[in-house]
């Protein structure tokens, strides 16, 4: 519908640049690198602009390109780490009572392993649905839901241990 329209590209970039930058920043943890990743990603996006037929999928497509660019830039090891859904690591993080004490929410989120942190960030930052998160990560919707629910459970536990939780959070059994 929009083809490779420069005006449409401009509008989309202006609408999503901020949140995509923050997503890249969250992945890269470095502002300069985040901007470079975003720049490369959107240059690629522009080259393939007309490939997206459903405008409703545009936003998720952009997130996926930013994420791919981050892992392309980071190398295979990092990507494998991100794809390795290891519940034990998550459980270990959740069990580290001492280090979580006094940490802020941001720091605790940073401690979550990438396979759990990423979908949670995508949902909260981009407002993506579980289906859209699944498309960005290249996994099934069920897998995305499982990762997000486990991430939230772990986050609740960690916040409770950190002593910053104003709510009475009892230890939950992960579904």
């Amino acid at each position: 519908m929009f083809g490779r329209s420069t005006a449409h590209f401009d509008r989309v970039v202006r609408a999503y640049a901020a949140e995509l930058f923050r997503f890249a920043l969250w992945l890269a943890r470095d502002r300069h690198r985040a901007e470079d990743i975003l720049q490369e990603a959107l240059t690629r996006a522009w080259r393939n602009w007309s490939h997206v037929k459903d405008e409703g999928a545009r936003r998720g497509w952009l997130y996926a390109i930013v994420r791919n660019e981050f892992y392309r830039d980071s190398g295979r090891a990092k990507r494998e780490q991100a794809e390795d859904v290891d519940d034990e690591t998550l459980a270990q993080v959740a069990d580290e009572r001492d280090f979580t004490r006094g940490l802020e929410l941001r720091q605790i989120l940073e401690r979550l392993p990438a396979p759990f942190m990423e979908p949670l960030v995508l949902q909260n930052l981009g407002g993506l649905s579980c289906e859209e998160v699944a498309q960005v990560l290249g996994v099934s919707t069920g897998a995305a839901m499982t990762r997000i629910s486990r991430a939230r459970s772990a986050l609740r536990e960690l916040l409770c241990k950190a002593g910053e939780d104003s709510f009475a959070v009892r230890k939950e059994t992960m579904p």
Binding site: T6, F9, D10, V13, R14, A17, A18, E19, F21, R22, L25, W26, R31, H32, R33, E35, D36, L38, Q39, E40, L42, T43, A45, W46, E104, L105, R106, L109, L120, V121, Q123, N124, L125, S129, C130, A144, M145, T146, I148, S149, R150, R152, S153, L155, R156, L159, F167, V169, E172, P175
Partner: protein, 231 residues
């Protein structure tokens, strides 16, 4: 839906609820409390995630680089390093690189003026002293040629850089000027055309000055307009 499945779905997305999940929440105060807590937690999380400031002019730079073929700073630096290894090629590469950067900036200026129809239509009038003071901040002096009226003046972000854009009207018609700091030292002068508009770009030290008029104006007339207004 059993409680375990309801909890799993709630934890996966507390904002988008199926009818079945909504009914389960209404029937179970524990699920309702969990949802409230998750929504509050998500609001905190959203605040944390949107806390970092976004670099000024980011979208402009992305559009400029993506559309006009420039690569990222990282890739640019890698290219520069690779080329630097070939000592003979360095000077010509740098000239080419600067020219490319300059061309991209010039195209961004032209695009800004072509698409800024509101700015072209604005005719509120600006006092010459105001224009002089505004462009002086960029190290540029302007004259006040008799018979000309300043229709519009604005600080615009072009290619991620704050610039001055003013429009004057006189015997030669309506002409736009853009002053963009941070020139890379590429081609001294260049003429570009787009959408019925012709533009002359010139480098004055580290500032790019552009004069933009109707396509009917040739290069000589644009040069004359540049000399007439810019000291």
């Amino acid at each position: 839906m059993n409680e375990l499945e309801a909890r799993r779905q709630l934890l996966a997305d507390p904002r988008r609820l199926s009818a079945e999940l909504r009914a389960a929440i209404e029937a179970d105060p524990k699920l309702s409390a969990l949802r409230d807590e998750l929504l509050r937690r998500d609001a905190q999380l959203h605040r944390v995630l949107t806390e970092p400031a976004v670099p000024e002019g980011l979208a402009d730079r992305i559009v400029l680089n993506a559309r006009f073929g420039m690569r990222s700073r990282r890739l640019g630096l890698s290219l520069a390093a690779a080329v630097a290894a070939i000592a003979v090629g360095v000077p010509s590469y740098l000239r080419l690189h600067d020219n490319r950067l300059e061309l991209a900036r010039d195209q961004a200026i032209l695009q800004h003026v072509v698409e800024g129809t509101d700015e072209l239509a604005d005719n509120r009038g600006v006092a010459p002293a105001v224009l002089r003071a505004s462009v002086a901040k960029l190290g540029v002096e302007v004259r006040d040629p008799p018979g000309y009226r300043i229709r519009h003046l604005a600080n615009c972000v072009i290619a991620g850089i704050e610039s001055r854009h003013f429009v004057i009207e006189g015997p030669d018609g309506i002409v736009s000027y853009v002053i963009l700091p941070g020139a890379h030292g590429g081609a001294d002068e260049r003429v570009l055309e787009r959408s019925g508009m012709r533009a002359l770009f010139a480098r004055h030290g580290d500032v790019t000055v552009a004069v933009l008029g109707a396509e009917s104006m040739d290069r000589g007339e644009l040069e004359k307009m540049m000399r007439k207004v810019l000291a």
